[in-house]
Amino acid sequence: MSMTRRRLLFLTPAAAAFLDRLGGEETQPPSKYLLADHYWAMSIDIGKCIGCGNCVRACARENGVPQGYFRTWVERYEVAGYPSERPEVDSPNGGFDGFTEKSRPGAKSFFVPKLCNQCAHSPCVQVCPVGATFETPDGLVLVDKTYCLGCRYCVQACPYGCRYIDPAKQTVDKCTLCYHRISRGETTACSETCPTGARTLADLKNPKDPIHEFLRTNSVQVLKPHMATGSKVYYKDLDGSVR
């Protein structure tokens, strides 16, 4: 009895595995991109963000992000003096359509763009049961859509809320830092369309990258530093009220 059940346990999923492999979608990657030459990050200057939403729209178009889900989004903070533990925050449709005026005289207000922090010690990678989300040698956290089970453990483990389930594919999805663009020498879609240069792609392994000067001369923070995720999105002038 135990043997029959054991056989069935393997035969059915083995068939599924072979069928999976038949429907492959990989094409040849562009050559001349060496993993060892890069370690990607991003810098964000809070003082420059105008909440136009260009980045949210560009990312959605570039990456085919389904409506209602966000690989990147913009939050608006309103901090009315002390105590700043409870700021008023909104992100209407993730900032996709920009922000209408919300007049609150005397409040300190600003925009905070957010995206996957491409953590160096990623908790989402740690909890994936099968290795469907992973850290690449060049510093990105990616999702293997043909391998992901859709168990959603990684979505729970991400402290920043940057993951979602693609309703069509029923797998997890998130910002790839436009890997398909940056490996071809271009910048991310969000940085490309940011009119004020608030968002800038950074390559920590490139000694000439402005990120080094940026980190050296500015007041820089990452989101939720106490979580020790090794976040590689560096915010200039991030207010203490930002969650």
């Binding site: 909890v127 089970l149 809320g161």
Partner: protein, 400 residues
């Protein structure tokens, strides 16, 4: 208080509004908890020699098996790609608590439950293989693995092996259910879940629910068979339920008091959530109806001499409330952990559908299915022992 728009109050990260883990993920720890608890009750007699609960030994094992067979189903229904779940066997990511599911499950099913049941029942299986006509004859024959040796020495070897397996089975049962607690307890991103107490709380509430389940099934089965209930057995089970419940309650209170005392950055947000969205399920159902009342009833039975019918009624009520309370506990952990924003600035709501893949209907089905399987198992491998104790060589064998 902020207005509620589309079920969202305050601010949530845009991707957080939709809940990721549904009622199916509430069901899974509930079911594996029942398995672990039922097994611990069985091991009470086998390893700790609590003779009084012997009448429920086989029933507890069959109950554990029935529920264990159903345990992977809520997970399969929940997965975006259930056909890929074999990947957990071929590339298990060792840093993920969830990755051990496949192996722990298989280990527990094969090595612990199936082996222990087989060893305990082997004498009966051999006899049933010889005496049962029709297609069932071949099933029993297969189950004998071709061996008809039921000599006293063989049965003594079975008994010894079964004892060893039960001893191994106890930490295995702890692992089977404890890792689920660790899955939640190790998520640093979620302050409602993240605590080292989580696996322990899960375990003790599992034992409580499992013991209550076997108690209820025993009472129901005896009633259906129109047989007298072994009251010393029932009283002993109720006593162990009471002890375990006291420990479980203390652990949950410790977690609560610790949270309130430390009052870290998440506390205000969680406190508000418990007072509003989780009030009914946590305070009314889990704490009052599901813990305080059954504890009081069970305590009453310990200190006051009640007549048999009164005790049976009390145990039935206490047992049922306990099961509801432990289910509510799983609900409050899983669903509660997703109702608040990780920004601590807002809340969302859980929309439980009825006839969808992750709705109420399949969940009810998944709770009924193990009872159906148990009925089949009881028919195949009757657990009822003869009124007088030992037959030759087999302390747990015999069919009435």
């Amino acid at each position: 208080m902020q207005p509620i728009v589309n079920g969202v109050q305050g601010f949530m990260y845009p991707n957080e509004v939709e809940l990721q883990w549904s009622i199916l993920i509430v069901l899974y720890p509930f079911i594996t908890g029942l398995v672990a608890g039922a097994f611990i009750l069985a091991s009470l007699e086998r390893v700790f020699r609590v003779e009084a609960v012997k009448p429920t030994y086989r029933l507890a094992l069959l109950t554990a098996l029935a529920f264990l067979l159903v345990a992977p189903l809520p997970l399969q229904l929940h997965l975006g790609h259930p056909e890929r779940s074999y990947e957990m066997y071929i590339t298990p990511h060792l840093t993920s608590a969830m990755a051990m599911f496949g192996f722990v499950y298989l280990w527990y099913l094969m090595v612990v439950l199936v082996m222990e049941i087989w060893l305990d029942y082997r004498q009966d299986i051999v006899r049933l293989a010889a005496s049962t006509p029709g297609p069932l004859h071949w099933l029993y024959k297969a189950m004998t693995l071709g061996s008809t040796n039921v000599s006293p020495r063989a049965l003594r070897i079975d008994d010894r092996a079964g004892y060893i397996i039960t001893v191994i089975g106890i930490p295995s049962a702890f692992l089977l259910h404890g890792y689920v607690g660790f899955i939640f307890g190790s998520v640093k991103a979620n302050p409602w879940w993240s605590t080292p107490l989580m696996p322990i709380v899960f375990l003790f509430s599992a034992m409580v629910s499992g013991i209550a389940l076997v108690m209820l099934i025993y009472m129901a089965a005896m009633k259906l068979r129109r047989r007298p209930i072994d009251m010393p057995c029932l009283d002993t089970i109720a006593r162990y339920l009471f002890y375990t419940f006291v420990i479980d309650f203390s652990l949950e209170m410790l977690d609560l008091i610790h949270r309130m005392y430390e009052a870290d950055e998440s506390f205000q947000s969680l406190d508000f959530m418990v007072h509003t969205r989780l009030w009914t399920s946590q305070v009314l159902i889990q704490i009052i109806a599901g813990t305080a009342v059954p504890l009081a009833l069970l305590a009453l039975a310990q200190v006051v001499r009640l007549s048999e019918p009164r005790r049976r009624l009390l145990y039935a009520v206490a047992g049922t409330l306990t099961m509801i309370g432990i289910f509510a506990m799983r609900w409050n952990v899983v669903i509660g952990g997703q109702l608040f924003s990780k920004s601590f600035l807002g809340y969302t709501s859980y929309k439980l559908a009825f006839a969808t893949r992750e709705g109420l209907l399949p969940s009810i089905g998944l709770l009924i299915l193990p009872l159906v399987i148990l009925w089949v198992l009881v028919k195949l491998l009757p657990p009822w022992t003869a009124a007088d104790a030992r037959t030759l060589g087999g302390p747990h064998g015999g069919v009435s």
